[in-house]
């Protein structure tokens, strides 16, 4: 997962062919399920994985399924951006690396904004960073009671992404959203549900069976009614979401080249090396 000069923000042809190294993708009973599949790394998202998710969303948009589900393999949902994305500085320097990273992030979030079908998160465990912020772009979010929701941007000298600077205040109001987005508060599943970020919380023991039986019944609804209702809901704010995504990415590219952020990430790796 080292960053290379020739790494591209474009979707690889391997991914476009439907053969993924970091994801499992299945299609049954009108449901396409995209499973983040790096359980040994708590499903942290590498550059390859960003590209594969973009490709999997493009495929799911075109296939015959009625709804699309995201989940994680193992005990974690997703631990966010894999910081090894920042660990090897390429020959053309930090600034060029930050700009390529920004372009990849912009395309990644755009894939969620533009996704045409109902999109469901089955949050099977702790969720961190960008896996939390994009939840504001999902249509349903079901969580096990083991899940937590954490967006520790500012302690790494970074700033909000995934349209969360717009969606979180919209969902829960500034007074609740700021404690997450500015001050790194970690929410329990119950708190996230009360605040509207999560649709419903289930006991971990029955989580999978309850959620999947519900989703299977939802997937039998007339698909065009689903498509057009989602389109109506999204169209009231799609233009706004793209503008927010652009502004967030522009700020992050600046942050990634700042001393604040470089120092915070270097400490992270130094502390890790000491363990």
């Amino acid at each position: 997962v080292a960053v290379e000069g020739g790494a591209s923000a474009h979707v690889t042809s391997r991914a476009a062919a439907g053969s993924y190294e970091t994801l499992l993708v299945s299609r049954e009973e009108n449901i396409t399920t995209i499973t983040l599949n790096r359980p040994a790394k708590k499903n942290a998202i590498t550059k390859q994985m960003y590209n594969e998710i973009i490709a999997a969303l493009e495929e799911a948009a075109k296939d015959d399924s009625a709804i699309t589900v995201f989940t994680g393999a193992g005990d974690f949902y997703c631990s966010g951006n894999d910081l090894t994305n920042f660990s090897k500085i390429p020959e053309d320097g930090i600034k060029a690396m930050a700009e390529r990273g920004g372009e990849l992030l912009r395309k990644y979030v755009k894939a969620y904004i533009d996704f045409p079908k109902p999109l469901v998160a089955v949050v099977n465990g702790p969720a961190v960073g960008i896996s939390v912020t994009v939840l504001g772009l999902f249509d349903l979010v079901y969580a096990t009671d083991r899940a937590t929701f954490h967006t520790p941007f500012t302690q790494l000298g970074q700033s909000a992404e995934g349209c969360s600077s717009y969606t979180f205040p919209k969902i829960m109001g500034n007074a609740k959203a700021s404690e997450m987005l500015l001050f790194n508060k970690k929410l329990t599943a119950a708190e996230a549900s009360r605040l509207g970020l999560v649709t419903e919380v289930f006991s971990d023991s029955s989580f999978q069976s309850e959620v999947w039986s519900r989703l299977k019944s939802y997937a039998k609804l007339p698909p065009k009614g689903l498509l057009f209702s989602k389109l109506l809901i999204r169209s009231t704010e799609k233009e706004r979401l793209h503008a927010v995504n652009d502004a967030e990415v522009e700020r992050l590219v600046e942050r990634w080249t700042s001393d604040d952020c470089v120092n915070a990430i270097m400490s992270f790796f130094q502390n890790k090396a000491k363990l």
Copy 2:
């Protein structure tokens, strides 16, 4: 209630004259109360009733009352659009019928968007469909604990109206709103209150007395302060609401002529005929 070629989306002169067949309208203690009055049909809204409600709102806007209240006669608040509106195909065909239905719906929702005084729903029992979606355009929603809130569009191949594709996500966030608008979830009164769709829930035994004593005291407030405060609140999103109404109606007119929807409504009547 059969659909006729000559049926008009315009308010009938009978209604304009204040004499309604499907509503009871009373004025006392600064409160105008509009009661849906087809209890034998669970107050399902026919074409005539849409027109009469538009006319009653126009009258209430101009009368001396300080606030306007909606409620239902009998045990139901309202069971939504009367599907017999679709049961007789006129000579000029389904498409012409759908377009007239769309124009009537557009005017109906517009009447709520433009209503200048505080508008209160006294939800005396179950509420379905358009009687739920327009609640996002009310200023207060009081509900008995017997009330439920159900918007089963997609199972009939239809899509959201009443500006709910905008107001519901605004009120409760996408993760909660989608379960209602896309997946037909029925809310209890307590759930609807927690999500912000309902102002407050009352025990059915004391519902009428508690609500009306509160409303009578509210109706004594200086009326211009009420008018101008409501105007300020509404003006922050009025233009947006009209645009959303237009987009929702355009989609519904397409839906009403689709195979999905025609088949779903035909099954509804066939199942009913078998009972």
Copy 3:
């Protein structure tokens, strides 16, 4: 605090120099704290105090602190606009007084909209009127369980300010917001927290120690991450907030010269004189 013809909406040079008569301002551990300091008057805001708060916010924006805190001296947080601001009619008449008052209010609310750093309310007791409405412009709102939240505009023939006609419906939905903004409902701290106006409520006995230990840890975060995250959040609606502020002020200037309002304020003083 009498209103004088020569009173100016501009910040006084005394205030700009950091020496305040109605506020205490302290700076320690990266936190600037602005304490409303008229406890004998429940921290009611006089014209002088509006000007001093504007000046204190301008100073806090430029100083080295990471976050800025508002609180009140004594048992009250703030009892809102000091009605003695209206008690002496100047030589140039009510209309001119209302226009100057409107201009001062516009600048006051603008100072909150434009404030660049995380802004925290430590609500140490009951809050009334404009001290409540501007809470929608804060990033965090911590409240003692003794706090209440009351915006009794319409009973004084007035209308909403502080951008509350936009922020309150955004935070809690119309059905909840209208009961506060139109019908003068007073919220408990727990209710305000459930509705999203308040971040968290604390037992009065441990309020100060819990809140300040949390704020001190927040103030150690990398300051640029905080600044830029707040900037992203605010920039999604800054233009809208200024437009809402202008519309609310324009309406209030009209209200202040209306019979409704003049009579309501005269009764207030007559009732007070009788006590």
